[in-house]
Symmetry: C2
């Protein structure tokens, strides 16, 4: 069941087709049974719909189905889908793929969608950072109680594995902190300003490319980075943060002069997201930092992101995202879907976080 | 059963104690039942031995047991251990932890040890790159036939997850190639030479620190990097390479002048390991490369390593190792041990590589 049918979800349904062979090697066969859009109607058919065809139709301005009455909320749609696919849900075969537009101030409506899906016996996969930034612990507990999965690999680094990496590849290690560059728009603006462009021109270029949020404040005042920082801190460090609990300073006060002065001293300014344990608390922060040029984060140009993970037994290591785009985010959903499938085949309950 | 009881294995047995609580949360309880050393005797006791105490004894020049007759090979010892622990082996509870000194020209005796362990019904975990560089496919097949695990996370990047990352977090993605800096000694030498030290002084300092191989040729002529490249290509790209099949050029011809000239042009010279698919073949190479200063690999100083992974759906991403040491390598063994335990709990056969 696809809730949200924007660029990411439409790339995802095409990726399902392109990856049919590897999916079948994983023992997975998939069927799209419902699509809820914001402005292009809804369709629900337990026998399956042709999602790729419908993606094309939406791109030509059409609707996904005759039902263009979108007065009911998407949460209502999810409940209806779970009712109509109750047998699949009981057999743990129903998955809600959540990609709606996020209200970054409240994390909604994505959080409601996750709750409705779990309540209906569906697993939930989302590329939205809202649920994990605002309500990770409650939703993870709800998923455990429902014996369903709640996965969100695409929420922070597009498809580059960071949550799956921590869950699957660092057993018995303790993550003690992280720092990183996690917002592409601000990194692009800072790099462009170093190259002589103005703040406004660089921002406009990112908005034209569809990468910056329409409301510039989300990016340049650090809200997007704060939401990602809260998400990472909640999952990797066991914090109980929301974005408002992250100390936050954006890049509005960074002038070309300040960038030049830093650069003349062999340093670069980056918007750095970080968090660390401090006793039983987790302190999280987003702020522009002057970094020496040999710092890994200083070397990130344009839209590159990176997270440096600090651990007890492995020291520091970094994961660097060198490309980003729709396919990456769509792949995050696919990877999460396969994780759901692997867990089903193991017959195991989702592994609980033990951090 | 510990085969090899050098620095890494002794750190590993201490890590088993330090991580007893997280191990028990994974449902794992461990017992060392046998230790084979090269010069400090052997001990085999299915009831368990005090490995931490024995580590201390070896460090004081003592032996691990009264049996100092090491005329039989370690493979004989493994067979004997499997026979004496046959019930545990039948129940998939016997694990051989292989950390012997590698003959980098042939990958032995580690390959024989892996075979003996699998034949005896034991899982095998190794920090040795020999088996995976010289005989990955055959050993993976032997493990599949024996329904046992063959794991080697520590072979290339100490404990930084690269093999586990590819296996667990990139489902349905295709890795198309990689490039990286994987040999610490040569990277340290090149960095030191840039800072005015001589080749010989830098090499001597790495040998004193126990990081360079005693035979300098293994590092500076690119053999170590070629073995790691073969290991990565075999596992990530499905190649059938041995180190001799990797095009190889070391750093002996890199002069201070050449480094200076590169640096004056804003470039740095690194020993780069790379491989890529080319039709049905995989072409792998180790060679010094002049890199622009904004290349992620150019920024790696001293002992930092990194691998940039190229994929079909995720573009490029990089994993950067920022610290290395005994604890990291020992942790790789621990992580592999937990993977064995998780697989046992799932009651599942090891997941097969599908690349």
């Amino acid at each position: 069941v696809l809730v949200g049918f924007g660029n990411v979800a439409r790339r995802f349904v095409r990726l399902l087709e392109e990856k049919r062979v590897p999916l079948s090697l994983e023992g997975l066969d998939t069927r799209v049974v419902g699509i809820a859009t914001r402005r292009h109607g809804r369709v629900l058919s337990p026998g399956g719909v042709d999602a790729v065809m419908l993606a094309g139709r939406v791109e030509s301005g059409g609707a996904v189905g005759p039902d263009t009455d979108t007065a009911g909320t998407a949460a209502t749609f999810i409940r209806e889908a779970a009712r109509r696919c109750a047998a699949a849900a009981r057999q743990h075969r129903l998955v809600v793929v959540e990609t709606t537009t996020l209200d970054i101030a409240r994390g909604q409506p994505a959080i409601r969608h996750v709750r409705a899906a779990l309540a209906g016996g569906a697993h939930v996969i989302t590329a939205n950072k809202g649920p994990v930034a605002f309500a990770y612990r409650a939703l993870a507990q709800a998923a455990t109680r429902a014996d369903r999965s709640f996965l969100f690999e695409g929420a922070v680094m597009d498809g580059i594995p960071i949550f799956n990496l921590a869950r699957e590849t660092l057993p018995a290690a303790t993550i003690t902190g992280f720092r990183g560059v996690v917002n592409s728009t601000t990194n692009y603006i800072l790099t462009s300003m170093e190259n002589g462009e103005t703040f406004d021109a660089a921002l406009a270029s990112m908005q034209r490319a569809g990468i910056a949020e329409a409301d510039a404040s989300f990016d340049v005042d650090g809200w997007d980075a704060a939401a990602k920082t809260a998400a990472l801190a909640n999952v990797l460090l066991g914090a109980r943060l929301t974005p408002a609990g992250v100390e936050r300073e954006g890049i509005r006060d960074i002038t070309a002069d300040r960038l030049d002065t830093a650069r003349a001293g062999g340093r670069r300014i980056k918007l750095v997201a970080s968090a660390e344990r401090s006793g039983r608390q987790v302190r999280a922060r987003v702020a522009p930092m002057e970094l020496p040029s040999d710092d890994l984060l200083a070397g990130l140009d344009g839209q590159q992101n990176a997270i440096i993970v600090q651990t007890d037994v492995l020291g520091e290591f970094a994961v660097v995202q060198r490309g980003s785009g729709l396919t990456q985010t769509a792949y995050a959903l696919l990877a999460d879907l396969i994780t759901v499938g692997r867990r089903m085949q193991r017959g195991s309950a989702p592994r609980r976080w033990r951090r």
